[in-house]
């Protein structure tokens, strides 16, 4: 190649979800850490095949929801009972009238949870990330259509351009390509 460009990793393409799944299992078993598969849609069983556990995204959502509920409790009760109590419909200023606030409790809980959920994806997935080395791979465009790819990063300790290329081909990977940064 013309000038030296840092190597990002090796990418291989596979025929079907099945091939990709099996390849992934093998890559996992051969002890690679810094690698990923790319598919047009979530492939059933792939997490296991890659040795990934269950996503713990629900944790931040729980926190977000709780925050929402607390916000609602304060928002409704502090003004109504404390800051500026006004006699409305002969209702006393105490906690027992709070059923009237239930809808607000609920809505704010949902609102906050939903926002945390969406922002958590962004954070966990480091999105938005408009530039990524894999985009330099011409074939990779098909990942959002019908392409199934497996990419092993050069940063991975077990990475060795020749060996890894060989291995990927042995797993049935086609068009194994060196991806530059």
């Amino acid at each position: 190649m013309a000038e030296y460009r840092k190597v990002y990793g090796l990418g291989a393409e596979f025929e079907s979800t099945a091939d990709l799944l099996h390849a992934a299992e093998k890559v996992r078993d051969s002890g690679f850490k810094r690698w990923d598969v790319h598919t047009p849609f979530p492939v059933h069983g792939m997490d296991a095949a890659m040795g990934l556990g269950k996503s713990w995204l629900s944790a931040p959502v729980l926190i977000g929801g709780t925050t929402g509920l607390i916000t609602a409790l304060c928002l409704t009760m502090i003004p109504s009972f404390g800051l500026y109590p006004v006699i409305v419909h002969g209702k006393p200023f105490d906690f027992f009238t709070s059923p009237a606030f239930m809808p607000i409790f609920f809505e704010l809980t949902v609102l906050f949870s939903a926002f945390t959920a969406v922002f958590s994806i962004m954070v966990f997935n480091r999105l938005p990330m408009w530039y990524h080395p894999v985009f330099n791979w011409e074939r990779f465009k098909r990942v959002t259509d019908d392409g199934f790819f497996l990419v092993i990063e050069a940063r991975d300790p077990k990475f060795n351009e020749a060996k890894t290329r060989e291995m990927l081909e042995s797993f049935g990977g086609k068009h194994v390509t060196l991806i530059h940064d």
Partner: protein
């Protein structure tokens, strides 16, 4: 394959109808859906869009006129403080239920057939909620003071009244809209990536690229993505049920005979789903005509299923109507009785029977599979349902207000031209927004449809019968 022949095959008649017709493959799906967006703008699109946009403009002008002169340009009066404005609000918000319902509840219940219709119906939801939100906004006497509704101390350092159902509405509707948007956009990201990767011109590539947030189908991403989607679905399910319940509180928590009814929340929710599905079909059936290829994605099977849901919810609504009457008679309160008597035989009796026919009688035709599979019939029934659901809200609001406790204060209501054109205008807004959506965004969730294609399953044996 040879071994495929010996594999245990269940007889054809017992096999599920495939969710995607004609054994279509991934590229075909991508192509079919994307080309709608990528192709040149078809003539028919302009033919529909321009008049609808004009209609929307008329609506906006009416709103401007009304805001500048006052609510008096409508037909409302004492005692009919609300009429078409809130009728339209509830009508649109009801329509805005199908989308999230399909994407959330059907998702949780693993109804795979939802995948090909959820995108369009979610979009429809958003546009319907936008139209709905217009009315509570403009129906107030002093629009420029509407910010007093925000949960902050107003110009007089007074906080809003958190006990008022109208304030609950503010929270419910805004939450519903926001969450629906988030849900919808989350679902869009992978498909935006598709468009990005297919983009011919730099500009489109840039725009879709930005919107796609750099999605690259990484499985480490899919992992969190799916979890988030599940959570959003889980949140939206109670939300979608709550929104119309809260809207129904506007009436149920008041003391007006005919409004003060505990059956309202469930019956409003059922009605919302009912009307929502009718509107989904109202939009998708024509779409299938202009894009015949979609037949393999939005199949008879889908239409059939939606028709069944319409039948079910329609019957629930019918039950609610009858139960109202029964309770009015059974609880001896003379004002309650009078209210429901007037509803059917009072000044606006005809609207009641129009509602009864459209909402309860007409869907019964769906008991027959032939009718469910006849698109023309389905479309016509859906139009009945759309009218019927509007009449339902009109009946509830106006007949109850026009004749309440003191006969001395009874009074007729009739709409003014401003009201009529404002309502027509919202249809212009709704439909032209939908046309824009069809034109610029994938109206079918490609990545989700691909999941339900047999090849998507890693354990699927190529060539085996599905």
């Amino acid at each position: 394959m040879a071994d495929g022949a010996v594999s245990l095959e269940c007889p054809k008649e017992l096999q599920r109808v495939p969710l995607v017709g004609n054994e279509r493959k991934f590229p075909w799906i991508t192509q079919t859906v994307s080309e709608i967006v990528e192709g040149r703008t078809p003539i028919w699109w302009w033919v529909f869009f321009l008049p609808l946009a004009a209609l929307a403009l008329v609506g906006l002008l009416c709103i401007g006129y009304q805001i500048s002169n006052g609510v008096g340009v409508w037909g409302e009066n004492h005692p009919n403080g609300w009429a078409w404005d809130i009728t339209n609000f509830v009508f649109w918000i009801g329509i805005g239920h199908a989308g999230t319902l399909i994407s959330a509840i059907l998702f949780l219940t693993r109804q795979k057939w939802r995948t090909s219709i959820n995108r369009a119906s979610e979009a429809m939801t958003l546009f319907a909620v936008m139209c709905a939100a217009i009315f509570p906004g403009i129906h107030v006497g002093r629009v420029w003071m509407a910010w007093f509704l925000a949960p902050i101390p107003n110009a007089n350092a007074i906080w809003p009244n958190f006990r008022s159902p109208l304030l609950w509405d503010v929270f419910a509707v805004s939450t519903y809209f926001t969450v629906s948007v988030l849900f919808w956009y989350t679902g869009l990201v992978p498909d935006l990536a598709t468009l990005r990767d297919r983009a011919k011109s730099r500009v489109t590539q840039f725009i879709y690229g930005i919107l796609a947030l750099g999605w690259r189908g990484s499985n480490r991403h899919w992992r969190h993505y799916e979890m988030a989607y599940l959570i959003l679905a889980g949140l939206s399910t109670p939300l979608v049920l709550s929104v119309h319940s809260i809207v129904s509180f506007d009436f149920a928590t008041s003391i007006v005979p005919g409004w003060h009814t505990t059956i309202f929340p469930p019956y409003f929710v059922a009605g919302a789903i009912f009307g929502g599905f009718a509107m989904v079909l109202t939009i998708l059936l024509p779409a299938r005509i202009v894009y015949p290829k979609l037949d393999d994605l939005i199949t008879r099977n889908h239409v059939d299923k939606m028709a069944k849901i319409i039948l079910l919810t329609g019957s629930i609504v019918g039950y609610a109507y009858l139960m109202e009457l029964f309770i009015a008679w059974y609880g001896v309160n003379p004002y309650e009785r009078a209210a429901f008597w007037n509803r059917a035989f009072g000044w606006y009796g005809w609207t009641y029977f129009a509602m009864m026919f459209c909402n309860v009688i007409s869907p019964q035709i769906f008991w027959s599979k032939r009718m469910r599979n006849n698109y023309v019939v389905v479309f016509i029934v859906c139009q009945f349902v759309n009218c019927g659901m509007w009449f339902e809200r009109f009946v509830i609001i106006v007949t109850s207000l026009a004749q309440d406790f003191l006969p001395s204060s009874w009074g007729h209501y009739s709409p003014s031209w401003v009201e009529i054109w404002t309502f027509a205008g919202t249809f212009g807004i709704f439909l032209s927004l939908f046309l824009l959506f069809m034109r610029f965004l994938p109206m079918i969730a490609m990545s989700e449809v691909k999941i339900v294609v047999p090849e998507a399953d890693p354990h699927h044996k190529p060539g085996a019968a599905h």
